[in-house]
């Protein structure tokens, strides 16, 4: 049996990609995740691959229930992502996609904080190219903001890990908790990547700027890596329940008024992460299973939704709700796949979201968190509202925009079909997913009572949408910028910086003027006395020199004679 980190298969496998062409490259890129998947499937639990560095033992392949389920889903995501992006010619997108996914998988199997840190930063650096590949000034600016924030998260992780290493003498990545300062710093690092409230806005800022294919990959890895890390290090930390509840609720208000449909999806991605964070905060076996299962299901349906919007962007050049509508006529397959993704994220029975999200809600109810349960139920109705209805409705139906784009390219359709099949498959046969969860599952999603409750909730949300639309109360889709927490650094922060630059600038020029004036005066005086016309530098005739020498000699002689006598 081969014992090799599956993440490294993807990272090393990305290196020859620029030199391959045509079908060879296609086969190679598809074979990498398949090979890694087969390898991972064969690995038993335990630590399998250690190297020594910095005088420490680095565990690169810690296999257990939690890391395995995230490993599987990350490999499925990159496999779907590769198919979806086969038509892309830009080689850097393929390479950075493979390295990025490999880094995320590497991080999941990292058994110590140092290798986690290395992979953590590698995900940041490799993924930014998926944003920059859009080659627009907005994408460049958003990419740089993304990179600064992501690398900043890694720096916090490094600081925290050094403190923990110093305190405990161990760098093992196990439960961390928030009892120590280092633990709080690492929670902050994870929180940035998991898009905690107020630390979230890099997500809505950067993801909609990436290429149509890039966003699909971005949506899968970075935030779910953070969810994995939180589940490993902070399970049962009660503060996370409240953070998660806020995360599940507040982004949906922004999603309702957002016009860019990929940004709507970014807000709903944020909301879905909230459910997982609540599950981790509750920390019981059911809740952690729910968080892992929801991450698994979520990666597929969220990728599917981003794929459908990516196909629309690819064909029409826009994903603004105000510019779209009526696309179902010429993109029927994409429409159907989008609706399947929408049904899954809305947790309709027989779709994947239903069997995963309900575990978290049940866990919240079991543990007596009734208020949080209510918030999550509200968020469930809300996510149906903006992801379930708004996305397909405004893109494919609503008023006819007159656009008649071609159906999505074949490779995109295949990727969407596979993702749709997984969404339905997981929803219909949940036992396969339940079997690979970290803890034993004793949960039955399909009971009469539960199915009826969920269907009632969703149909009455749809009723609300219909009533609001027909009465004209639903807010119109407007071309606009909606401020979010990024305003703090893009406007307030920039104003403060500009003020500082001006103040320092004027101080600098004041001091400069003063010094230069003094120096000038000094040089001028020097010039006056020692310059070509200065008194000291005046030239004298040679005759006077000789005269003075003669006088000196005579004086000397005279003194010499006086001395003799």
């Amino acid at each position: 049996m081969i014992e090799f980190p599956p993440g490294l298969i993807l990272i090393l496998g990305a290196l020859p990609v620029p030199f391959l062409r045509g079908p060879v490259r296609t086969i190679w890129m598809l074979a990498l995740p398949v090979a890694a998947f087969v390898l991972l499937y064969s690995l038993p639990e335990g630590n399998h691959f250690a190297i020594s560095a910095f005088g420490q033992q680095l565990e690169l392949l810690r296999v257990d229930g939690l890391s395995k389920v995230f490993g599987y889903i990350f490999l499925i995501a990159i496999f779907l992502g590769v198919i979806y992006s086969l038509h892309v010619r830009a080689i850097e997108e393929h390479v950075s996609g493979l390295v990025y996914s490999g880094a995320a998988i590497g991080a999941v199997f990292a058994g110590d904080l140092v290798s986690l840190f290395v992979y953590w930063e590698l995900t940041a650096i490799s993924s930014v190219f998926l944003i920059l590949a859009s080659r627009t000034p907005e994408a460049l600016a958003a990419g740089m903001r993304y990179l600064i924030i992501q690398v900043g998260s890694g720096v916090l992780l490094l600081a925290g890990l050094i403190m923990i290493w110093h305190e405990t003498g161990s760098i093992a990545f196990e439960h961390i908790g928030i009892e120590s300062v280092g633990g709080v710093l690492i929670l902050l690092a994870f929180g940035i990547k998991a898009a905690f409230p107020l630390l979230h806005n890099w997500l809505q800022d950067a993801y909609p700027q990436a290429t149509p294919t890039g966003t699909v990959l971005l949506s899968a890895f970075t935030t779910k890596l953070a969810i994995y890390a939180l589940a490993r290090g902070y399970a049962g930390t009660e503060e996370l329940i409240w953070i998660g509840a806020v995360m599940a609720a507040f982004p949906i208000f922004f999603a309702v008024i957002e016009n860019d449909l990929r940004r709507v999806l970014a807000y709903s991605l944020n909301n879905q992460l909230g459910f997982m964070v609540v599950g981790i905060g509750i920390g019981t076996e059911l809740a952690l299973n729910g968080a892992a299962a929801h991450a698994f299901a979520h990666i597929i349906y969220k990728a599917l939704l981003f794929m459908s919007m990516g196909a629309v962007l690819h064909r029409t050049g826009t994903v603004l709700a105000s510019e779209l509508g009526g696309l179902y006529k010429s993109m029927p397959f994409t429409t159907v796949f989008c609706i399947i993704g929408a049904a899954s994220i809305s947790a309709f029975p027989l779709f994947s979201g239903f069997i995963s999200k309900s575990m978290i809600l049940s866990a919240a109810a079991h543990e007596g968190h009734y208020f949080v349960w209510g918030v999550l139920l509200f968020a469930s109705a809300g996510v149906f509202h903006h992801s379930g209805i708004k996305i397909p409705f405004f893109a494919f139906f609503a008023h006819d925009s007159g656009k008649r784009p071609k159906e999505a390219p074949l490779n995109m359709l295949i990727a969407m079909a596979l993702a749709s099949a997984l969404c339905i498959g997981i929803g219909v046969w949940p036992s396969a997913l339940y079997a690979i969860l970290p803890f034993h599952v004793d949960y039955v999603p399909y009971t009469d009572s539960h199915v009826l409750s969920q269907v009632q909730l969703l149909f009455f949300s749809a009723l609300a949408f219909t009533v609001l639309m027909r009465t004209g109360l639903y807010p119109p889709e407007l071309r606009s910028t909606n401020l979010d927490s990024d305003w703090l650094y893009r406007r307030v922060g920039r104003s403060i910086l500009q003020y500082c630059v001006q103040t320092v600038g004027s101080m600098h020029s004041g001091i400069y003027d003063l010094v230069v004036r003094r120096c000038k005066r000094f040089v001028e005086q020097l010039y006056r006395h020692h310059g070509p016309h200065g008194i000291i530098a005046r030239t004298w005739p040679t005759g006077s020199m000789v005269l003075w020498v003669a006088i000196l000699l005579v004086t000397y002689l005279a003194l010499y004679f006086i001395d003799i006598f």
Binding site: S330, L377, P405, L452, S453, L458, F459, L463, A464
Partner: protein, 94 residues
């Protein structure tokens, strides 16, 4: 609809209303939804609910929660949030 698919990319075609765009059909769909919602509420009488928290077993709880929650969400976003955060599209472009 078949002819429309043969049109080139993005070519705007004269408004040719599909089945879904006719007003009477939209009304039909809306009525179908109203009927389904009514049936779902009535099912509460038939299906025994094992209410874990007590209040969630009340008649029509989930329906009311979904409807009121959604209306609350949309109206707060429209009248509460949008006036505060909405700026012109090129707000950050300078």
């Amino acid at each position: 609809m078949r002819e429309e698919q043969l049109k080139p990319d993005n070519a705007a075609v004269p408004a040719q209303k599909g089945w879904l765009e006719r007003k009477e059909n939209v009304t039909k769909i809306a009525w179908a939804l109203y009927v389904v919602c009514a049936i779902l509420v009535l099912l509460d009488f038939l299906i025994h609910r094992h209410a874990e928290m007590g209040f969630d077993g009340n008649f029509g709880f989930y329906g009311a929660y979904g409807f009121i929650g959604s209306v609350f969400l949309v109206l707060v976003a429209k009248y509460g949030l949008r006036p505060i955060v909405k700026r012109s599209e090129d707000y950050y472009d300078d």
